[in-house]
């Protein structure tokens, strides 16, 4: 598992993709930060953090699009599967590699509250921590979706589009639930990553939300192993 993680992290940095994604996200976030937070003289991060989801919706599918597609296309999947590792270890290793690149972006954003503090802004620490926890959890969940999408095809672009569409649907769950109302709204509420995000981001530390995100991640990674296994059964 760690061998796969290491290789994939290296692969991200062998190619320009990691640098492009990291600098692009950091650039966009910094624009938000400079013209929103700093120019508006807000001593808080949560407004910015709630905008991050929007950026992640675009960034994550690109981050994960080649993670499993490439192995299928180049035939290296044979090497992985015939090694003494389980399929779930392959999936987790790959997932953690994508997460590692995400964490680079994550850690870079720590500079924002540090600058606010340096400028003498007084932030509410629980709000800040809640916001960052939510940021991490939503990132983990989105990456799981992206990894799942890349298991469905051997074409990177298609994988990115599938990932993007799933994330888009997640965005639309809340408006649709509001519209339909009733029992259906409750069912749709199960898939609402964003409402829980807003809860955490506004400082409501609900343990069920944390468990929710972790389960969401686990379910998508499990589905990914099922997709790979299923294909092994049906191919030649």
């Amino acid at each position: 598992m760690w061998a796969i993680w290491k290789r994939e992290v290296q692969a991200y940095f062998y190619q320009p993709i990691a640098y492009v994604l990291i600098s692009l996200s950091f650039l966009v976030l910094s624009i938000y930060y400079t013209f929103g937070t700093i120019a508006g003289r807000y001593a808080e991060m949560n407004t910015l953090l709630s905008n991050i989801i929007f950026i992640l919706t675009f960034i994550i599918p690109i981050l994960t699009m080649r993670i499993l597609t490439e192995d299928r296309k180049s035939g290296t999947e044979v090497m992985l599967v015939t090694s003494p590792v389980e399929v779930y270890e392959i999936v987790i290793g790959k997932y953690l590699a994508s997460l590692t690149v995400f964490l680079v972006i994550y850690v870079l954003t720590f500079t924002y509250p540090i600058i606010i503090a340096a400028l003498g802004g007084k932030m509410e620490i629980p709000m800040l921590l809640g916001g960052y926890l939510a940021f991490l959890l939503i990132g983990m969940s989105f990456i799981a979706v992206g990894v799942f999408a890349s298991s469905l095809t051997e074409n990177q672009i298609v994988a990115a589009i599938i990932g993007f569409v799933i994330l888009l649907v997640i965005h639309l769950v809340d408006p649709i639930a509001n519209y339909v109302g009733g029992v259906l709204a409750k069912i749709l509420g199960i898939f609402s990553l964003l409402s829980r995000y807003e809860d955490l981001n506004s400082g409501i530390l609900d343990i069920t939300s944390i468990i929710y995100y972790l389960s969401f991640t686990a379910v998508f990674l499990f589905l990914t192993t099922r997709v790979i296994d299923k294909r092994r059964w049906s191919q030649g």
């Binding site: 290789r7 062998y14 180049s74 035939g75 044979v78 003494p84 092994r232 030649g236």
Partner: protein
Amino acid sequence: MIEIQNLTKHYGEIKAIEDVTFTVEKGEILGFLGPNGAGKTTTMNIITGYIPSTSGTVKVSGYDIMDQPREVKKRIGYMPEHPPLYLDMTVKDYLDFSASLKEVDKKTWKSQKNDIMELVKITHVQHRLIRNLSKGYRQRVGLAQALVGAPEVLILDEPTVGLDPKQIIEIRKLIKALGKSHTIILSSHILPEVSAVCERVVIINKGKIVAVDTPEQLSKNLVDYSKFTITIAGPDKKVKELLQQVYGIIEIEVQNKIRENEFSYIVEADKEVDVRKPIFHKLAEHGYPILELKSLSMSLEEIFLQLTTEEKEVN
């Protein structure tokens, strides 16, 4: 070492392989021969645990691939037809990755690494990106990858496909050398390759095994009659007449005229009778010397054609 029992794989209606059964002894090089699409890769993918079978069992060193896949996978080095290479890595990094993937401990790997690279002659390209290597070198890196961790069993799917003749000879030599310390299954659709390298051959066609034997034995079993070419000094009509009198000879054909009063013949004789001595005595009696006598055993290629076009069952 490897026991394959009634292996069957269906894809919906299509039967990729059916009832494939054979065993490979420790230290043996087994040739797995069949035309393209016969089910060679499918069989190898099942043995190595890449794809599951519909029914049947594969055991390596007594471990079942379905029940204890990890134990089996640890013991197998697999080189698929298209070497599974990460083009963005250097040769050295790639082999290091393969070693940690196979959970070879660091000390062992350190001592093994240079030997493997030396053996397949890739030491001098170890710092190059695989992307920039030629097909021949990529093939060798693929083979090196299969050797990582010193597995007891090597499974090589069409290892010489796409190589030039010089590279083919080198890879074959290498496989022969590896055969001294490994149990090897080697698939191929090229006959001379299998007879050059393998001690025993399994021939598969349309998903079914049609023959299992040594290359020599296969030739022997398939020939219903023995066939010779003979060159004799003497007039063809007279010689033919004399030969017809020899017990056991079925047919005589003049192959060509070499010079005046010297002809070569193709003689077919009963398999059970050794006709060579009677031919000699008969001709010596009449003063027609034999200049050459050669047995024409059927080449594996012919057998293969016969097996795969007529689907004749041997065993």
